[in-house]
């Protein structure tokens, strides 16, 4: 009798202990910071980013049949099934607010890594702060080439930067020229923060190197009430390809002003940003038929990446819109980071950093057209091959590289 009681007791204790460790593991959390514009003129970007991260968390924290890293089991296996939680902070497109929020997330919320920040200007200050505290910064969607060239050890960028994007644009134009199209001049039109400055300086260099005339080179004040005089200058120069680098407000205003001044650009080749945002396309999409933009993602990618369709559907259910260039990159950045934390088996900054540096994810295990995710010594994923997409009847189709194109190119946009 007594022996049986002891056995029972021991069994019960062991069972309890098991449950206890399991409970402990479940209670254990991995906290990641995300710094985005949640108020201010780019607030919608931040709100969409939140939905993209929540979509990723659903896959990371629950067992999912998708073939993506950390999808299979619930939580992170490397940390005993710990769940990932994202803490959001608002930077209002202000680099100083971003810096302060990064400091707060690291010292008070105890985040083990930070993802951000859309605006390149904010990613600059946030990544510098992360470096100081030895916390990895995964740059999801800021595309200034200068970001990864500051000898930061804790900086990682999963997506392409503007140099890679712009190179693709000029490769594309070269290819069109080889096919007999006449493209003599380009027009640069860019906003006056680091995004526009970096994007345009790359484009200016590429244009000069490859023998395109720069018909106009216009740096404008962002969020201006009017762009009439600026558009008048574009109209006078009348470039064969207009290459704007603009956020949403300016993309809407530029398009409307061009229409009201009776100017139809021969072609638009946009550095994404505002030109692929749903509000801009809803507002002025009818005037942008045939516009080409660089992209990291296109909804019609579904055929080539099996997970992309399911992820897009999950995102759409939350956000009420398709994934775009920004949200797909945000989603992917968090997936890559979760994979690294999982492999590190720790939330220690240096260990996560080392795991990130050792990342090697094949392209099929992402939702992007990337050939793989593998960072070089500067923290740049050099395998993030960009694509060009064309806006046609309300949605985007992939047109370049020609090998992965899903539709025939329409060129020029306006004859």
């Amino acid at each position: 009798m007594k022996r049986r009681q002891v056995l029972l007791g021991a069994g019960a204790t062991m069972a309890l202990q098991g449950a206890w460790t399991q409970a402990l593991a479940q209670g254990k959390e991995v906290v990641v910071g995300a710094i985005y514009p949640l108020t201010g003129s780019s607030a919608q970007v931040g709100i969409d980013a939140k939905q993209a991260f929540e979509t990723a968390l659903d896959i990371i924290n629950n067992a999912s049949p998708l073939d993506l890293p950390t999808a299979k089991n619930a939580g992170l296996a490397g940390l005993g099934g710990a769940k990932v939680r994202v803490v959001y902070a608002d930077h209002q497109a202000d680099p100083q607010k971003g810096r302060a929020e990064a400091e707060r997330l690291i010292t008070q919320e105890g985040v083990c890594a930070i993802v951000g920040c859309y605006h390149s200007s904010v990613s600059t200050t946030v990544s510098a702060t992360c470096e100081r505290y030895g916390v990895p910064f995964v740059c999801a969607d800021s595309s200034s080439p200068s970001l990864n060239r500051r000898n930061l050890k804790f900086f990682f960028r999963t997506a392409a930067h503007d140099e890679m994007f712009s190179e693709a644009m000029f490769d594309f134009m070269d290819a069109l020229k080889a096919k007999g199209q006449k493209i003599g001049s380009v027009g640069l039109f860019y906003e006056d923060t680091i995004f526009g400055a970096d994007s345009s300086s790359v484009q200016r260099k590429l244009a000069t190197d490859r023998g395109y005339k720069i018909a106009c080179d216009i740096k404008y004040r962002n969020n201006s009430p009017s762009l009439t005089a600026e558009v008048q200058q574009i109209k006078n120069a009348n470039p064969d390809v207009l290459m704007p680098s603009s956020y949403t407000t300016d993309a809407i205003l530029l398009t409307n002003t061009m229409a009201s001044l009776g100017y139809k650009p021969h072609n638009i080749m946009a550095q994404a940003a505002g030109f692929v945002e749903k509000p801009a396309l809803d507002a002025v999409g009818d005037k942008l038929e045939g516009m080409i933009s660089r992209a990291s993602f296109s909804v019609d990618m579904g055929e080539k990446r099996p997970s992309a369709k399911a992820v897009n559907a999950a995102f759409k259910a939350k956000a009420g819109r398709d994934m775009n260039d920004q949200t797909s990159r945000q989603f992917s950045a968090l997936m890559v980071l979760a994979d690294a934390i999982d492999r590190a088996g720790s939330t220690d900054g240096t260990k996560v950093r080392d795991a990130l540096a050792a990342t090697d994810i094949p392209g099929e295990k992402t939702i992007m057209p990337w050939s793989r995710v593998k960072f070089d010594a500067t923290g740049q994923n050099t395998f993030a091959s960009p694509v060009l997409i064309q806006f046609r009847k309300g949605s985007f189709v992939t047109v370049y590289p020609f090998a992965v194109a899903t539709a025939k190119l329409v060129w020029p946009m306006n004859a």
Binding site: I47, D192, I218, A229, T249
Partner: protein
Amino acid sequence: MTASALLQVLASGLLMGLIYGLIAVGLSLIFGLMDVVNFAHGEFMMLAMYATFGCFVFFHIDPVLALPLVAAAMFVLGAGVYGGIVRHAMRVKVNAGMVQIFATFGLATFIQGAAQFLFTPDYRNIGDNGWLGGKTLELAGVYLPWPQIFGAVVSLAAFGGLYLLMKRTDFGRALEATREDKGAVALVGIDSNRVFALGWGLGAALVGVAGAVLSTFYYIHPQVGAAFATIAYITVALGGFGSVFGAFAAGIVVGLVEAVTAVVLPPAMKSMGIYALYLAIIFLRPQGLFGKL
């Protein structure tokens, strides 16, 4: 730059200038009346834009027709803000200036937050669906968008109406008198509180008209007021604080200077022209073009 291109820039600057004047005049009116700067001026305009958008989407009322409705609603809002907030802020005994600044500034932050919460930060647009949207008048190579022509005409009409109101009606005379000497008007039996409330209503209604006009060609967003409010402050300072017709003239000047600067200097520096002009005015004529010291 060809002659027709220059003409285009000037014409666009003039049209925008008239609209800037219309945006600024409400601010100037309120300041002239009671020495309070309404920092929520841009947010009033934003609310008017959403109201116009709401009329269009839910009741299919074109912005042209919605304009008086929006102005009336904004009048009520403006008078309400005076009665509910500003009147109390003016009553404090210490640091009255600061309290007034923070009262309207806080109101601005609140309205922005509430708008983002209720309307979401998505960009709205009436665009080409309205009567005027996307239509352009071409005159000898110069393109004049109809929404902006409409805006300019409304602006002229509003200033004309305001002139008549100020010079020909008892209310206008009471407004003028209260502005001159609040104590004295109380002695002759004018309720300055009532005049102030009407002044705020009128100021809000005017910026409401501007908002309705803008919504025919500009995007609508909780932050849209900020860019225009900055210009409105400069316009008011340039025209002379409190001078209604100074705001009209200064609006045109600001519109033209902005357009011309964008041609002469790199466009990123186009607001520098306005600030340079403003500084010059401050040195040469501290009271502004039409202001009184």
